[in-house]
Amino acid sequence: MNLVAQIRAWWYAITDRTRVHQQVETELQFHVDAYTEDLIRSGATREDAQRRARLELGKIETQNERYREAIGLRLFDEIGGDLRFGLRSIWKQPAFSAVAILSLALGIGATTAMFSLIYAVLLHPFPYADSDRIMDPVVINELNPQQLRWFAMTRPQFQTLSRAKSIESLLGFRNVNLEITGSELPEDVAAIYLTENADSFFGVPALLGRGIQPTDAQGGGQPIVVLNFRFWQRHFHGDSAVIGRTLQLDHANYTIVGVMPRSFAFNDTFGVGDIYLPRSLLHDSTNPPIQWPYTPWIKLKADVSTASADAELNAIVQQFAKEFPERYPKQFHLQLQPIIVPFEQNTGHTLAMLLAGVSLLLIIGCVNCSILLLARGAARQNELAVRSALGASRSRIIRQLLIESLVVSFTGAVLGVAASWWLAKLPFALSPGSFPSESFIRINLPILGFSVGLALVSGILCGLAPALRLSRRDLAHPMQSSPQRIASRGNKRRIHILIAGQIALTLLLMATAGTAMGAFLHLMRAPLGYDPKNVMQVGIVMHWDNPADWNRIRSRADRSAFIEQVRQKIAYVPGVLSVAVATDATPPNLGRDETFEVLGEPAGQQQQARIYFIGQQYFSTLRIGLLSGRIWDPPENMRGDSVAVINKSFAQLYWPHGNAIGHQIRIPGLQPVGSLVATSSDSTGWREIIGVVSDARNNGVDMPVLPAIYVPYTTLMAPYAQFDIRTQGEPLSLLHTIRAAVASVSSDQQISNGAYDLQEAIDRDAQWSKQRLFSVLFGVFSTMALLLALAGLFSVVSYSVAQRTMEFGVRLALGASRSHILWIAARAAVFSVVVGLTVGGVADILAGHLLRTWMGSRGSGALYLPEASVLLAICAMLACVLAARRTASAKPIEALRYE
């Protein structure tokens, strides 16, 4: 067969219908005329000849149908007819259609949104080529397998590792904080040095310019820099003329050669870089020399299994550990972790939970659509009976009904996909920390395919039951019987089963939403113990890598004086109310865990407490109340030793009767480590408890407060410090002035990038944002579900009332009371609601536990089933009564005249 000719024939028959039909008619007319002439010539009268010709050849007008059938367009024409019919019936019954389409649009929209989220977060979160083969090698301490560590390598080690057989490509990187200089104030910038194979390793084309290439290694490293998208937006306002300009870093000039696309945000483990530099710039003359410039990311060869790669690389890294035993745990093994793993662990359950929610919503939408189609179908039995009597086969009627429901579902899908684009972004906005920074939502082919599939499935799902039911032959009899419509029992039963199911699912969703909201409310109401409003945290990293600067802060006294000087300068900034040093001490979850000893208590139990290094202004700045005793004074603060303040939890643990003051504690872990950390003379010695403060959250917003010990920050000082700053108004707006104040102490001293508002930190808290995500989304889901269920209920009662108008008229005429009529009209629906509530309640008790575990709500396990049931019951009754009232209020005569 010649396919081109076939398609051409179809094409003309479809697109140029009129002309093709004219030609077919002209041709046949010619034939008829020629035949007639011949018949006349052979002796027939003209009339006779014409009649015979027409009899043999058929009507000219029906020839078109023969033509279309002959070239194989029959199915197309029939389906087209069904489609037109479907569209017309949507148009003719706007209320029905709006509810049906909206039911599916909500379900399909929400499910598509969730799928695009899952696609962006779990299926395709990384922009890298072959990202499923990229591994993050993790060192697992065998004595404490929960503890994951990464390792860095020296140059010879890196070369050894890159020769491993299972490795296709090895990336080495090193995160370093640099400073943008050359402008008015120094600015902190997160740099990542990348081995020069970066471009081919990632396989991500640059948005502008180019990425880091092997030639950048020449001459001890070319002074070039590639920008991260967000940094480019922030610092250069997305200026595309930036390529070729210079960026001054630590007083050296670098040429900007490229900007990476938005999806590239290497990497989440050590912090996303603002800028990327060639690794060769970290040469031996870097001061102080960085001995461990290579943290690895590994791209495995395609045919290598993770197990065999693990084995090979483990052997190599064990060798490294023999060279530098102090850098590795005593017993460990290497594990290659696909880079997606951390996110699967963090977000897998969240997404599963949300997916369960949207699936429920979709099912409710489908059921609703089914109910509507069935209810409407009851009113359409006459039409279907006529079709069937005219010779439509059952399969033809099923097809027509299915196509009608597909028209509804595809219309719904179009609306749903449009809505999903917005919906899918909601989780990112509500819970930004839960997702890889590289994933962002876009509508693409797989997602469109998914929603088309969803539309198909839901169209068939909600259309099939009604189609099968309504196409049955035995339903054809209404046409022959009297005009009054008797809805079949089976049809009604089906509707009521569907209603009960829908109510049950809605209840399940509402109860889950109740739990989510309850948990979030609980979280919101729980006292923090400190006041985060108008407080921000600002950090500085001192210049330990520059000998001149280093000498000025090397000794403990110089360093504490420097920190105090910076603190005072910040305190003078107009609008700042109070400033406290709070190194690693900003609530709700910073702090360092150490074991401690209490003088006079057996040292046997290894109890841990949170240790905070703070200045004496800390408690007043964060508004944490002093319960008893006192806070240390400035001289004690500078000395660092022999004083400590504890929180209430700590005091209650050991001195429940309130006599904690005066006892002695000791923290052995506060010993000096490394050359960069300065400690007080007796940092691990005994300290007297001089004060007890009230509890402030220190283990996240939803966990009980841990026992805490506060010591002066001068006890142990790394070359960085953090400040909690309380301001009069919006704190971050003072950042620029504070930056200037810090630079006035030492002109090169920048403040670190991560300055943040403490209120925002709570919003970003993993548990907090997760609970908020659940409560908002499930609130939305269950509201949608409730509206759908009510719309379904309302329309079912309305339809059944409309069908029984005459019956009600008779009843009224015979003296039935209106309330009785109301009850008759609504009772079947009421009964199914009651059944639905019961089933839903049981399901919630059975499945709810699982859902709540997934939600991870620790705060309150309260059940919201009763509240949800009552709310749903009231709404459902209202819907039934409102729909039924229309009839009950009809006048008997009018009702009787109705037919």
């Binding site: 010649n2 000719a5 076939q6 041709e27 010619f30 020629a34 050849l57 058929g58 002959a70």
Partner: protein, 113 residues
């Protein structure tokens, strides 16, 4: 009058191909020629004649062109396309072979089986 023969499935199409292989013809002409060649012994269902032509045309075996008929009216003339020519050849061989086989079987007398 000779006995009328009803055409088996698919035969009409090959007859149409054969008829126009001798020269372009319009629909009525094809019908006449088939009847003429067969000595008016073929019963051609009017209802299935045009659909067969439409099918052949949509498959690209024959191509139609509008022209003037012998009595100066617009008529559609069909001619064989290259595909049609090949098809006619292949189909003819198949028919002849099949007829030969069937005929041979039918010719067998009882004793020979």
């Amino acid at each position: 009058m000779p006995n009328l023969v009803e055409l088996p499935q698919g035969a009409l199409e090959i007859l149409i191909l054969k008829a126009i292989s001798l020269g372009p013809l319009h629909g009525y002409g094809i019908l006449l020629r088939i009847q003429q060649i067969s000595g008016d012994r073929l019963e051609i269902q009017q209802g299935s004649f045009y659909p067969a032509i439409y099918r052949l045309e949509s498959r690209g075996w024959i191509t139609g062109e509008w022209g003037e008929s012998e009595n100066n009216r617009r008529a559609k003339f069909y001619r064989l396309s290259p595909t049609g020519k090949r098809q006619l050849k292949a189909e003819s061989e198949r028919w002849v072979e099949m007829i030969g086989v069937v005929a041979n079987i039918l010719k067998l007398s009882a004793g020979e089986s």
